[in-house]
């Protein structure tokens, strides 16, 4: 039995490690072979990028060697998939190697596509990649005052990051003693300031008390980088001195190229996590088309369910659990407070008042992440 995991990020790593532990005897006896193909020999803790953008972490602190995170029974190759041949139960890699599988797990994540919005790459700063987060930090350091506009593309991973960014910007400029010289304004795609109603209700008075302005129903159409104007689909033009954007996302190119899913989002059963129409192919993490937020948290809970199910399919011939839509997200409310939001398909998110201990917990989680992807937490 060959299990192939494609993608060595949050979801793929947890699935593979969890499977390796559950199937120790089977992998030792050679009954099961567990292979992972990924695009990088390093694993990035992506939430750390927000800290990099404010000089609170350096990029090297975000990485670990992928091989060091994996159970020794996992056969790991840095050789990304170039072609999925689902009808033949095969994939072909960039290096031209063919891998056969009985069970395939696709966990290739998502990517930002700023070039799809005219003018965005020239006119805006981002923080969703290492390079852009460092560049944003340098821009912030140089910034002496003016209009800072923050706008959000759709879809995007980590839906709480925009709100966290606003609190961090406020605290950063305050610490530099120039907050009164900065007009901080947030532009959000839907009719309230966050898609989670409880987060919107909590953040609005917080924004008001901190002097953070906001405009809703604002979807970025294009950026006039020369004149520093961001224009919305809804017909609003906004002048800025510094524009910070969470660009819209897509799944990986290979997913679209091989027609696995429009936009790179693979049609996935919301409970079994099977790719629709394929009972030996499963999808976890950002690349699903599930209407759940694209977060490490969703990736983690999906991965645990899937690994348990694949192991039990091998052992008893049937899955044992459903993914229930569970997500748990920390929300940093500035430099020293945090809260969290937990929900699933049926239970709406609730929000506790932000506290210092929650912020410390988040800081510890930044380290605990490595234990978590090893499948130990």
């Amino acid at each position: 039995m060959k299990i192939l995991v494609v993608g060595g990020g949050t979801a793929g790593t947890i699935v593979a490690n969890n499977l390796a532990r559950r199937l120790t005897a089977e992998t030792r006896s050679g009954k099961v072979q567990l292979t992972m193909l990924s695009a990088s020999d390093r694993h990035m803790y992506q939430p750390g990028l927000l800290y990099v953008a404010f000089g609170q972490m350096t990029p090297d602190q975000l990485y670990r060697d992928q091989a060091s995170l994996l159970e020794p029974t996992i056969d790991f190759h840095v050789d990304p998939v170039k072609k999925f041949m689902l009808d033949k139960k095969q994939v072909m890699t960039e290096a031209g190697k063919i891998h056969n599988y009985d069970i395939l797990v696709i966990a290739t994540g998502s990517r930002i596509v700023p070039d799809e919005t005219p003018g965005l790459t020239e006119g805006a700063e981002f923080f969703y990649t290492e390079e852009s987060a460092v560049k944003l930090y340098k821009r912030l350091r140089e910034f002496q005052g003016g209009r800072v506009a923050v706008a959000i593309g759709v879809p995007h991973k980590c839906p709480v990051a925009p709100v966290e960014l606003m609190f961090s910007l406020h605290d950063y400029f305050k610490a530099r003693g120039i907050r009164d010289k900065v007009n901080l304004k947030y532009y959000y795609p839907i009719g309230r300031i966050h898609t989670i109603e409880a987060v919107a209700k909590w953040a609005k008075p917080e924004f008001d008390s901190l002097g953070i302005e906001y405009e809703t129903l604002f979807n970025i159409k294009e950026v006039d980088a020369k004149n520093k104007i961001v224009k919305s689909e809804e017909g609003i033009d906004v002048e800025y001195d510094l524009l910070i954007v969470v660009p819209q996302h897509r799944g990986m190119e290979v997913i679209e190229r091989d027609n696995l899913g429009e936009g790179g989002w693979i049609p996935t059963d919301r409970h079994s996590l099977a790719m629709k129409g394929h009972d030996n192919v499963y999808v976890v993490g950002d690349t699903t088309n599930l209407p759940v937020s694209k977060t490490g948290s969703a990736a983690h809970f999906q991965a645990e369910v899937l690994a348990e199910n694949i192991a039990s399919i091998i052992k008893i011939g049937a899955p044992v659990r459903d993914y229930d839509g569970k997500i748990y997200c920390f929300i940093e409310a500035g430099r020293d407070r945090a809260t969290y939001s937990m929900f699933d398909y049926e239970t709406p998110p609730d929000l506790k008042p932000p506290s210092k201990p929650m912020h410390w917990f988040k800081l510890s989680y930044n380290q605990m992440y490595w234990t978590s992807v090893r499948g130990l937490l």
Partner: protein, 76 residues
């Protein structure tokens, strides 16, 4: 040729039905019809509000067994 695409955003709190619709709308072609399925009663107001503000077309909105079916057409 235009086509109707179903967006199943039932039982979702984040990113939520309107955000899902905006996502799909970006990738749709002018003239395409999209049908959003939502169990969030807020969708009955916030979807038409956004559609009107951008200038797309609201075709219909009806509730069937606790699910709202909101049909829209991309016009630009």
């Amino acid at each position: 040729m235009s086509q109707t695409k179903i967006i199943d955003a039932r039982d979702t709190f984040c990113p939520g039905p309107l955000m899902e619709l905006i996502s799909y709308m970006k990738r749709a072609n002018v003239g395409d019809e999209l049908e959003l399925l939502s169990t969030d009663k807020g969708s009955v107001n916030d979807v038409p509000e956004w559609i009107a503000k951008v200038g797309h077309e609201l075709i219909s909105s009806e509730q069937v067994d606790n699910v709202w079916h909101i049909k829209v057409r991309k016009t630009k």
